[in-house]
């Protein structure tokens, strides 16, 4: 998985690309470090260019949500497509995490 981050006046936007899977725990650490450094009000996780997510990757979304909550930051997952959206729906992640089309 690769990611790019961009800060706006009130938000940190992180766009993920490729595959988010069980081999990506170190990348998760990098994203959390970016969240820690930016101290935003909102944290937007853009999944529109993510192609695949596995159960470990879904667990990472929940870890990111917890990390954001601990910092009083609102996390929003945006734009999941195709197989990624299907997996998010199957695991009912939308009941826990705010997801925007």
């Amino acid at each position: 998985m690769e990611f790019q981050s961009r800060s706006t006046p009130d938000a940190l936007e992180v766009r993920l690309a490729g595959r988010l899977e069980f081999t990506d725990h170190d990348r998760l650490r990098d994203i959390i470090d970016a969240l820690e450094g930016a101290k935003p009000r909102r944290f937007v996780l853009d999944l529109s260019t993510l192609e695949f997510i596995d159960s470990a990757g879904l667990g990472m979304l929940l870890i990111l949500q917890e990390e954001a909550e601990q910092r009083n930051v609102k996390m929003i997952v945006s734009g999941p497509q195709g197989d990624v959206k299907r997996s998010i729906d199957l695991a009912k992640i939308g009941e826990i995490v705010t997801i925007e089309p």
Binding site: R19, E21, F22, T23, H25, D26, L28, R29, I32, D54, S55, A56, L58, G59, M60, L62, I63, D83, R86, S87, L90, A91, K92, E95, I96
Partner: protein, 251 residues
Amino acid sequence: MDTIPSPLRPFCVMRDRIPADMTARVAARFDVSGFDAVDDGSAAAWAEALLVERADRDRLREAFHRNPFLTVELGEGGDEPAALMEDWSGAPAVEPGFYLSLTTGTAYGLQCAVLVCDELTRRGALTAEHRPNVEMCLHEAIANAIVHGNLGISSAAKNQPDGYRVFGQMLRDRLGDPDIKRRRIDIFCRWNASTIAVAVVDQGSGFDSATTASATDGKARSGRGFVFMRALASRVAVTDGGRCTVLHFDV
């Protein structure tokens, strides 16, 4: 590369010569008595092969394109006869089917499920319609076999403060251990007109399959792999004390 459609030559040729004792072990292990040697001037042509040293995606694709039944990656150190003595769940050679044996160090990060689904598609067993389900389930079974099986890391590691850092460090530590890294992941595929069956076998300590979650458990950071497999596969069986997961897909 041209493919070689020959059911009488189930093993892939990747090396010039295979030691005679290894040939004998392969013959005993995989019951290849029904396969005749190909008359190309070499002895025991069916066994000349199967061995890929330090497999990567391109070398494995090259091996698959020779239509082998069995493709085995050698471990580090050139211990070729030993590699074939290891307990990789010997099975009779069946057609149609194929068997891939990789070390954990190679399987990690190789996206094996993509590779295997590409090969199932190339051999005409898997259609685009069924591929997403098969690939997802296979990915989850392989991830479990690598992380919880051969690397011996429990998901409980994630359920603590900074758990993902601990988990990431454990992955790096275990993958740095040569003895752990060379443990095998075996993937055995067979199919007929109505079903694809894939077995994923590891060399870990196993687990009690009755403890796997049957439904998504809210905020839990782990345990969804089996939920996915049970939702998307037609049948899921766990055998060998948790070391073998067999996925069946009605197609």
